[in-house]
């Protein structure tokens, strides 16, 4: 391989890269908040007793889980302004698209957590005379959340990776900036490698933490 590695050109672009990184972090963090909160609400809807609440919620989840994220983002960017005759700035639209996607996946994660709570705990709380809302709040919820946390965090990392897709609709995130620099300077190797490393550096600590968390839960369960 005869290729002159040259990382010097990157030094001139630190400012750009930093701006892109800020956008990426913004997208990832805000859509995570949206996804965590709304996902919980959506999960409650799917578990509700009323069919007319359950069914649309389920449809929402299935639609966001069975279509590509890229398509969801592109749809948002091109169709929402047209349909609703509004202008929303790109980053907010990105947050919306990613946030709603994460909402669907997190709703499933919460639901799995709730369903993983053994039946016996429900029985026990009835036997102890707890009212339904008490057993939900003090018995089911804590356990459901504990088992859901690793999945929620994994979903969170996944949204960080998916956020790179907004570059395709020209939102100035880290990916977009990287692509611009790479094409302008004719140096794809250094640039893309660096971008990949940055994403990796962002997600690896969280992924390791999730693994540690899961190991701890396994030993706790085994006891």
């Amino acid at each position: 391989m005869n290729y002159q590695f040259d990382f010097n050109f990157l030094s001139g672009n630190f400012g750009l890269l930093w701006d892109g990184l800020k956008v990426t972090l913004q997208l990832a963090l805000v859509s995570n908040i949206v996804g965590l909160v709304l996902g919980f609400g959506l999960c409650l809807l799917t578990l509700s007793r009323w069919f007319f609440l359950r069914w649309p919620a389920q449809l929402f989840i299935e639609f966001f889980r069975c279509t590509p994220v890229l398509l969801q983002i592109v749809w948002f960017f091109y169709c929402v302004p047209m349909l609703f005759d509004v202008f929303i700035d790109p980053i907010t639209m990105g947050v919306l698209a990613l946030g709603l996607n994460l909402t669907a996946f997190n709703a499933e994660a919460y639901r799995a957590g709730v369903q993983a709570v053994p039946h016996e705990h429900l029985d026990a709380s009835v036997a102890l005379g707890l009212r339904p809302w008490q057993s939900t709040l003090y018995v089911i919820l804590p356990q459901a959340l504990r088992s859901a946390v690793p999945v929620l965090m994994t979903n969170g990392i996944s949204i960080l990776q998916q956020s790179a897709l907004v570059a395709i609709v020209a939102v100035g995130d880290l990916m977009y900036v990287g692509k611009s620099i790479a094409t302008e300077a004719y140096r794809p190797l250094e640039t893309y490698s660096l971008i990949a490393l940055i994403y990796f550096a962002l997600s690896l600590p969280i992924a390791q933490f999730v693994q540690w968390l899961e190991r701890r839960q396994d030993t706790a369960l085994a006891r």
Partner: protein, 221 residues
């Protein structure tokens, strides 16, 4: 603003061709990726650190970076690194396969781990040698337990394949975007594309659940 969904039908051929290409890439990379993923999971489970550590690193790398950047890296950097010109569809095939390998190796690893320890005890009690144990007891059970999550991985790959449109491959996403741009009807066409993806992914996802319930209950527990 007038929405007219009937225009979609006049382009059904182009959309179908896009879908066909998407499916070709999905199935091809699913098969290749699963095979490689199985081998990789064996490497990760190996006792030699020379094998298990790089294998583990590979998986972390491909799961910890966006698929888009993996795609771009293979597409733009591979020719530079290896000094050869790779046709676009091959780059895409390679990138998706590398990604799928990482994902499926995790699936197989989980399946291997889920086999109860007592199965290994039973093999010792019967005097089964290591090789026989792996081939006749561990491998079949790992495969059976791995099929439902593996199918989920394939469905994920089907969705992620939409990214190949960004490097100009004429898959369903690319075709849909093209038509929506040229007809200036994004709502109709992008929604139609969404429905098509949904109509493939949703039944498959349901199928995974059915397989899990029926087959596993019979042969795995």
């Amino acid at each position: 603003m007038n929405l007219d969904f009937t225009v979609v039908f006049s382009y059904w051929q182009a959309l179908l061709q896009g879908l066909a290409l998407t499916l070709v890439f999905t199935v091809g990379c699913a098969i290749l990726g699963s095979l490689c993923g199985f081998v990789l999971s064996l490497l990760r489970a190996s006792n030699s650190r020379w094998l298990s550590v790089p294998a583990g690193l590979y998986v972390e790398l491909f799961r910890g970076t966006p698929l888009l950047i993996q795609l771009f890296w293979v597409f733009f950097c591979f020719p530079v690194v290896f000094g050869v010109d790779i046709p676009p569809y091959l780059s895409v095939l390679l990138a998706l396969t590398l990604y799928m390998t990482a994902i499926t190796s995790e699936t197989f690893r989980g399946a291997l781990k889920s086999i109860p320890g007592e199965q290994h005890d039973a093999c010792v009690a019967l005097g089964l040698a290591s090789w026989n144990k792996t081939v006749f007891v561990v491998f079949p059970q790992a495969l059976l337990r791995g099929i439902p999550p593996l199918l989920s991985n394939v469905v994920s790959l089907f969705k992620e394949s939409a990214l190949i449109s960004s490097v100009g491959i004429a898959d369903l996403m690319f075709v849909g975007q093209n038509i929506s741009n040229s007809t200036a009807r994004p709502v109709e066409f992008l929604s139609a594309v969404a429905v098509i993806y949904f109509l493939v992914a949703f039944p498959l996802t349901r199928l995974v659940g059915v397989i899990e319930a029926r087959m596993l209950r019979r042969y795995a527990y």
